[in-house]
């Protein structure tokens, strides 16, 4: 075989081609992984962003004393007897009056049909408003009512004229009327703070469903997790890293912690159900039980980074403290722990973020129940029924009305925003305080 060094022979070309192929496999794999991430995020954002905007109807409502307070005494007991049905009728009449005043032709639709464009939840909201301030009776207020899920879906592309014709909850005439109201400025898409602030709503009213109770419930659970898992986790790590003698017993604890970190989360749910609820008699759906289950789950995930942070503090610091007469506990608490604190907090925040997104164990302890009342202030409120963000998302996906899919995706955006904030805090903490010895 003779050949020039400058021209590659067949075998070298084959080997180089194999090299290029192998490299491209790697690039393709990375691109696939990143595409999956982007696809996931785009799908969630695309489905969820509309949840933050809601179709609302704005029109004047005369709170007629003859309807709402027949005795004209403003007696709270008597006012409370007036049901939401009366308020619903009041709203329908007010809306048709407004249509007539603006000269919008409702066609064959009756007052009742026009009223059915308004969410039933709005009648309840108006009632609460009046009960809160009986002085409003007799005056005319500008009321912002939610449009029903079908009308809202029409402007979000979920409902079309074709599907409306087959749907018994709405009709093409109603959608046409909604278009006319939009032109007249009665109907508009607005930012919807109720999605964050209001409690969940029933199956038929996706337009009124909010995350208020779920966010509060998740916040309560995070309080429990932080208050218990940080001190316990740090204490356990301090013992294992700084004081524990090397023997079978501490080996057992270490193997245990490593395995607990990998136990499927649903197993913690089973533990919570049989221990906290069936054995200790704590209430179902309560944030305190959810919090305790998440504490047990988070502990190993806090202990592992905490031990790494303690281990990273150089022994010279300990030697110096011991040398000037500090006791072992003083050494640890005055010197080692403060130096390890940034690493510990970073690990804790990441552990909390994982706990915030955890769903499966909470399903088993009954947090998937429908809860409309806000829990009271902690610590008693920890025992009240509440929902949690991820469970609320799951709950919404199991409901029939397609409006809830949009709500669930919107709720995921809220959850992801919380997670991004927590992770950003962890990264910032690490950047700011991390030190290399």
């Amino acid at each position: 075989m003779s050949g020039s060094l400058l021209t590659q022979d067949k075998r070298t070309r084959a080997r180089n081609a194999a090299e290029a192929r192998f490299r491209s496999y790697g690039i393709v794999a990375i691109i696939l992984a990143l595409l999956a991430l982007v696809w996931l995020l785009i799908s969630i954002l695309g489905n969820g962003l509309p949840a933050f905007r809601q179709t609302m109807l704005t029109f004047p409502v005369t709170l007629d004393a003859a309807v709402l307070d027949k005795a004209d005494t403003r007696d709270p007991q008597a006012l409370a007897k007036v049901t939401t049905i009366t308020y619903g009728k009041l709203l329908s009449r007010a809306l048709s009056a407004e249509l007539a005043a603006r000269g919008i032709d409702a066609g064959t639709l009756t007052d009742k049909d026009i009223g059915s464009l308004i969410s039933e939840e709005s009648a309840a909201q108006l009632r609460d408003k009046v009960l809160g301030d009986p002085g409003l009776i007799g005056s005319t207020i500008t009321f912002q009512a939610l449009a029903t899920g079908r009308i809202d879906g029409y402007y979000k592309g979920r409902v079309t004229m074709e599907t409306a014709a087959k749907d018994k909850n709405t009709s093409p005439e109603k959608l046409a009327l909604a278009d006319k109201m939009k032109d007249a400025g009665i109907l508009a898409m607005r930012f919807n703070p109720g999605f964050i602030l209001l409690p969940d709503a029933s199956d038929k009213r996706p337009e009124a469903a909010g995350l208020g109770v779920a966010i509060l419930g998740s916040a309560y659970m995070m309080i429990v997790v932080l208050l218990l898992s940080l001190p316990i986790g740090v204490a356990a790590s301090l013992y294992l890293e700084e004081f524990a003698p090397r023997n079978r017993f501490t080996d057992l604890i270490e193997v245990n912690i490593a395995n607990l970190a990998a136990v499927p989360s649903i197993v913690y749910g089973i533990l919570g159900l049989s221990f906290f609820i069936n054995f200790a008699g704590l209430p179902r759906s309560a944030p305190v039980v959810g919090g305790l289950v998440l504490v047990l789950m988070t502990l190993p995930r806090i202990i592992i980074p905490t031990r790494a942070a303690l281990n990273a503090v150089p022994p010279s610091i300990r030697d110096a403290a011991l040398g000037v007469g500090a006791s072992r506990l003083q050494t640890v608490f005055h010197h080692v722990l403060p130096l390890a604190m940034p690493g510990i907090l970073t690990g804790t925040i990441i552990g909390l973020a994982q706990a915030l997104g955890e769903t499966a164990p909470l399903l088993l302890i009954g947090m998937v129940a429908f809860v409309k009342d806000f829990p009271s202030a902690p610590p008693e409120g920890l025992f009240d029924p509440a929902s949690a963000l991820p469970v609320q998302i799951y709950n919404w996906t199991t409901r029939g009305d397609p409006g809830f899919v949009e709500r669930a995706s919107g709720a995921i955006i809220v959850l992801l925003v919380f997670l991004i904030i927590m992770n950003a805090a962890a990264i910032a903490l690490r950047r700011r305080f991390e030190r290399r010895w």
Binding site: I44, G233, A236, A262, V263, I266, L299, T397, S409, I412
Partner: protein, 479 residues
Amino acid sequence: MSLGLLLLLLAVLTVLAHVAGRRRAMRLVGGDLRKLHSLPDFYGRTTALAAAVPALILILVWLIAQAPLLEGRAMGRLQPTDITAERPLEAVRADVIRLADGLARLASAGETPAADPAALVEQLKAHGLVLQAEPTPGVLAAAESYRAGVVLSKVWLSLATIAVMALGFLLAWWRISPDFRARNATEGFTLALLVGASLIAVLTTVGIILSLLSETIHFFRLYPAAKFFLSTTWNPQFAGGSSLGLWPLVWGTAYVTVIALLVAVPIGLFSAIYLSEYAGPRLRGVIKPAIEMLAGIPTIVYGLFALITVGPLLRDWIAQPTGLGNSSTSVATAGIVMGIMVIPFVSSLSDDIINAVPQSLRDGSLGLGATPSETVRQVVLPAALPGIVGAILLAASRAIGETMIVVMGAGASAKLSLNPFEAMTTVTVKIVSQLTGDSEFGSPETLVAFALGLTLFTFTLVLNILAQIIVRRYREQYE
């Protein structure tokens, strides 16, 4: 006194106890620090700890024991006629507690409860509380007793807490003398707390095993173990006579896991190889965190992704045109989405392991004229293989225990089928559905969830331990 107020009082008294203890120590030596065994703060700490810790334990025990005790007492007031076929004991118990809650609300609103049951129901409705049934005199008496018990219990808890604090404080206060080794005492106590904290990890494991085992044994008393482990049908019935065979669920779990690994292993492994062998530090610094983001996304997000995006996509583009199925929940949906989720588990750990292969091995191979890819295939990968197997096992254990993706993506019908576009179900899905269903707790249909949980726990534990042993062996080889 409400619990919040009580805890606040406890905190304030603890601080006061600390100040008092410190002061007493200083006064005993006339302000001369040198005559004290320990620093004055340690004396304060002994009194504070003696006051606070027993009181906290008391509150905790009280709160746990209170509900069952009060309930037992209240249930004693029920009349035998209160419990009927349509309102069994459990329902009546819930009624009593709800009614007691309603009475408490009335009391706090300053209203007197109406004597007539129907009027009482109306009155409670005005306070936003809807009762399931009109209360009978027995239920009313029980609710009254329960409410009175709760009120009384609060008073006694406050008194007992303050008494325990005072007692603890006085004992510690009396022990203070210049020679008292306050530092050793507090440090011994702190160390005991640290040991206690690390024991919680062990207790959790014991708790998991005990709760799973005891209910599983209970289950096998009601349902033959042989049928559970050998039967190939899963068909729970409300009325009893269910067949609860494990195999369809294990099959579904295994199928989903295999598809997940088919997605995750090539992608994860090749990205790990590229990142550790080819990519420069800047590219690596961007790509690695981006891929790891996939591991930080909650599983509920993947579940929704499977439900609204991947499921319909696979159904409309692959399953229906080829006639393989028309369900949007399928093994393939759950498997692909789960595969995406476990990519970072494979890639991060493999990356660490490939990086741990000594550079000298690469240098030797490259020096003999091998191309980088030949080095990777013939030197680095064989050397890293055990570690990579460990990483894949960990990913598999993660996939087996994953719940939300399969609950939302895989479906609920227990089948033994080879078609990946058919809905199948897994062990975790059935744990959720059996425990959140309407079956009575003591029935085999509910208890089977614990047997499934034990199976799942054992499976994942074995995989994890195996993976840990392999990874550890491998690490030691190159240290």
